[in-house]
């Protein structure tokens, strides 16, 4: 744990901010001079754990000067029903990711009868399709499917000509402006605001996170949302050259943020950086699914040989095993965003100038160990000697900067 300011400093704390990030595995606190990180005690509530380990530090700050972000509340589960992959589903998925939503499934409406109905409760169903001059994009099949589905919220963001029929057939549907304009471009604002609010309500509804409002007067944001806000300012902290990919490999999930230049998309938005989440890809809570994914990757055994270990390392509990697991996580994530295993996006990885790594991984791996994996990936999967720069955010500067940006915006 890092040093904490002496009590003599407390008189100057009226404007100083305390930033707290609650993850699924660790929590971090940052003040003007120090940053500290603690492994979570899962037998305690987050607030109890936090006050037990850092109570003194928290008490030094006024509630209005404490800013908290969290990725520990699991996020909202979302089901998107759209009429095409290239427009409605892609646009709604993009907006959902950028609103902090982690769990997204999609249904192509014309084949809706072929999809099984999820048994779990869906937090929000998004229905989208058609420009405003196109009607009858949906039929009885949609209403039949929804009748069998359990969901908390349903929102329609498709053609305005379809609104009367949708309202007539779907109870409590929220209707927002179409996310596809008349030139087939994306319109983000309304759906993004709606989903961000739902995310807030979700946080407030989860006791563990809700408790944290006892120590802050400020809104609790999702950590990926805060990180995404930082990216336009990243050059103030690091020599990062666009286009870049930021990897935040956490205990339960892995977040990717990437420059829009890395995709050939017809999505036109104000945001220069997109975000993507791989659920069940983490090195602590999601360790078993990470190992499962690794064992199903044909290059992983070669990678293990390259790292001079065998698959027995998966059973070990050691620093070496943790390092290998994190190196595997980097490799698997790169595979997922490459043409080799396309998952939602296929980034132009030969154009990447920098890889930025943040999160707990920076405390375990060195730049050399990360470069070793990235270079292995480029050689094996892309047959290339391309060598992007690797930047390690090992003092959580990206998160701190993002939280400061957010804090300033809220104060204005």
């Amino acid at each position: 744990m890092s040093q904490i300011n002496s009590p003599d400093d407390s008189s100057n704390n009226s404007q100083e901010k305390l930033l707290i990030d609650v993850g699924s595995t660790y929590f971090k606190l940052s003040n003007k001079t120090n940053i500290e990180q603690h492994f979570r005690d899962f037998n305690k509530s987050i607030l109890d754990d936090l006050t037990h380990k850092c109570g003194q530090e928290i008490e030094r700050f006024d509630k209005k000067n404490i800013h908290i972000c969290s990725s520990a509340n699991g996020g909202l589960s979302t089901l998107i029903i759209g009429v095409t992959h290239s427009f409605s589903l892609k646009y709604a998925t993009n907006i959902a990711f950028n609103s902090g939503i982690n769990i997204i499934d999609t249904i192509l409406f014309q084949n809706i009868e072929e999809y099984s109905v999820p048994s779990d409760l869906i937090d929000v169903v998004i229905i989208v399709g058609g420009i405003n001059s196109n009607s009858d994009n949906f039929s009885e099949d949609l209403y039949r499917y929804l009748d069998n589905l359990t969901y908390s919220n349903v929102v329609f963001v498709g053609s305005e000509l379809d609104v009367p029929t949708i309202k007539e057939n779907i109870e409590n549907v929220v209707v927002l402006p179409n996310i596809i304009d008349d030139r087939l471009h994306i319109v983000e604002d309304s759906l993004k605001a709606y989903l961000t609010n739902l995310y807030q309500q979700d946080i407030e509804g989860k006791e563990d996170i809700k408790d944290l409002y006892n120590i802050t007067d400020n809104q609790i944001f999702s950590t990926p949302y805060v990180v995404n806000k930082t990216l336009p300012f990243i050059h103030t902290k690091y020599a990062v050259v666009n286009p870049f990919v930021l990897l935040d490999i956490g205990g339960a999930t892995t977040d990717i943020h990437y420059s829009k230049d890395l995709v050939d998309e017809n999505i036109v938005t104000e945001n220069e950086y997109d975000r993507l989440v791989f659920k069940k890809l983490g090195v602590y809570k999601s360790k078993q699914s990470l190992i499962f994914a690794a064992k199903n990757n044909e290059f992983v055994y070669e990678l293990l040989m390259h790292l001079k270990v065998t698959e027995n390392i998966f059973e070990e509990q050691s620093n070496k095993a943790t390092k290998v697991l994190m190196q595997l996580a980097i490799f698997l994530v790169l595979c997922k965003i490459s043409h080799y295993k396309k998952a939602y996006v296929n980034l132009k990885l030969l154009s990447v100038n920098s890889f930025v790594l943040t999160g707990g991984i920076t405390k375990v791996l060195t730049v050399e160990e990360i470069e070793n994996i990235i270079s292995f990936f480029y050689k094996k999967i892309l047959n290339s000697d391309h060598n992007p720069a690797t930047v390690l955010d090992n003092n959580y500067d990206i998160w701190t900067l993002g939280a400061e940006v957010e804090g300033k915006e809220l104060c204005q």
């Binding site: 095409t84 992959h85 290239s86 427009f87 409605s88 058609g130 420009i131 196109n134 087939l184 017809n266």
Partner: protein, 137 residues
């Protein structure tokens, strides 16, 4: 009447694409121009999203030949495209070829109107004729 248009594949002939857009608008069509470098699935998806009546694909580098072969397989996946008029124009082969061979081949791929090395206005005239034949205009 709505038309979705664009240049198929890795073809960046933007001037031709713009001319097609302007000519269609001048003839009173509502145009949804997907621009250059457009993949086949995006064309069909745009037709679904817009409810277009006509899909006009252009190609100048000859890549259309490869994409054309994919049309029947891909179009069969869509349930709302049966009534669409499909038109393709430009330079439809790599190297040289004659229209007598090329037109039937593309019609076999599912295109209603095939314009190989035909000037733009002549091509659009044939579209008008087909619309009249089908009592759509």
């Amino acid at each position: 009447m709505k038309v979705v248009t664009g240049v198929v594949g890795n073809d960046i002939h933007v001037v031709a694409n713009r001319l097609i857009d302007l000519s269609l608008q001048a003839r009173g069509y509502e145009v949804f121009n997907l621009g250059v470098n457009t993949y086949l699935e995006e064309f069909f998806d745009a037709v679904v999203e817009t409810g277009a009546d006509i899909l006009l694909i252009s190609s100048l580098n000859g890549e259309a030949e490869g994409w054309g072969r994919e049309v029947p397989r891909l179009k069969a996946k869509y349930k709302k495209l049966d009534d669409i008029i499909m038109m393709i124009g430009g330079n439809l082969v790599v190297g040289t070829g004659n229209a007598e061979d090329i037109i039937p081949r593309y019609k076999g791929y599912g295109f209603d109107i095939v314009c190989h090395q035909v000037d733009l206005n002549t091509g659009l005239d044939s579209l008008e004729e087909m619309l009249k034949e089908r009592n759509l205009k």
